[in-house]
């Protein structure tokens, strides 16, 4: 599956370009690049090729057979809380990892507090 956001970000990073620099090369705006990289906009294949070319890359596409859906995974998907996923996707990568770090440390503090309240061996 083509992920334009990841492709553009990767090509731009490899070329050592800021969003504004890639935009200037491709004749578009920095905000347009930002929207694509945040997956808030979906470019046409022609636009994607143009942006990648501006970063010195060529888009190649391969055909692979469709992987049949796993019935167990499909069943689990019905239980996934999409609202949590959407909230995460609205955050930057930085924010997502900071939330993970904070949550891990809060859980560790809780576990330490629970251990401290347990009666010791008699």
């Amino acid at each position: 599956m083509i992920d334009p956001a990841a492709l553009i970000r990767e090509a731009r990073t490899r070329a050592g370009l800021r969003q504004s620099e890639l935009a200037a090369r491709a004749g578009t705006s920095q905000s347009a690049i930002a929207r694509i990289e945040r997956a808030h906009a979906s470019p046409t294949v022609a636009t994607l090729e143009r942006l990648l070319a501006a970063a010195g890359c060529v888009l190649t596409v391969a055909l692979d057979p469709v992987v049949p859906p796993d019935p167990v995974v499909a069943a689990y998907k019905r239980d996934v809380d999409v609202s949590l996923i959407r909230a995460n996707l609205a955050r930057s990568v930085d924010e997502r990892l900071a939330v993970l770090e904070q949550g891990a440390n809060e859980l560790e503090a809780l576990a330490t507090a629970v251990r401290a309240r347990r009666p010791g061996p008699r």
Binding site: M1, D3, A5, A6, R9, E10, T13, R14, A39, S42, V67, D70, V72, V73, A74, Y76, K77, D79, V80, D81, V82, L84, I85, R86, N88, L89, R91, V93, D94, R96, L97, A98, L100, E101, G103, A104, N105, L107, E108
Partner: protein, 158 residues
């Protein structure tokens, strides 16, 4: 867990690693909690030296092993092994020389992407490839993660 400190230490030392596993899934938008921080790492001599030096301040030790074993954290130790499950002052760290269905660092590199985290460049396995290696692993515990990753991909693509 001191994720920021760990990722900064690795980035500042230019260690060739790719974030995989649960933390990579979180970076892609997953909500599932994870405690260990998994990396695929490059096995060339120079990178093993950089990796050993970068993690040394966190005093890595074999996770779950009794204290006092003659374990020395060094590039030589990394050279002698392949996959390491470690406890460190910065959190539980798993280092993989190879992963099922994905191969080693060099094979995973084209399927990774660079993002910025905590102000540093961090390389993580792409969402598509994360799904690929989870499918290849095929462990029961991976199926729930796989479901969440597939939902993220669907949400991204609308």
């Amino acid at each position: 867990m001191q994720l920021a400190r760990l990722l900064s230490a690795l980035a500042d030392a230019h260690v060739g690693v790719i974030l995989i596993g649960g933390v990579a899934a979180r970076a892609h938008g997953a909500s599932r909690f994870t405690q260990d921080i998994d990396f695929a790492y490059a096995r060339d001599d120079a990178n093993l030296d950089r990796l050993a030096t970068a993690l040394a301040p966190a005093a890595p030790y074999l996770r779950g092993a009794p204290p006092g074993l003659p374990f020395e954290w060094s590039a030589a130790t990394l050279r002698r092994g392949l996959n390491f499950t470690l406890t460190t002052a910065w959190g539980d760290v798993d280092l993989f020389g190879e992963i099922p269905g994905g191969g080693g660092y060099e094979e995973l590199l084209p399927h990774s992407e660079e993002v910025t985290a905590f102000g540093r460049p961090v390389r993580l396995l792409s969402l598509d490839w994360l799904i690929h290696v989870k499918r290849a692993a095929g462990r029961p515990k991976d199926l729930e993660v796989l479901a969440e990753l597939e939902v993220i991909r669907e949400e991204r693509h609308g």
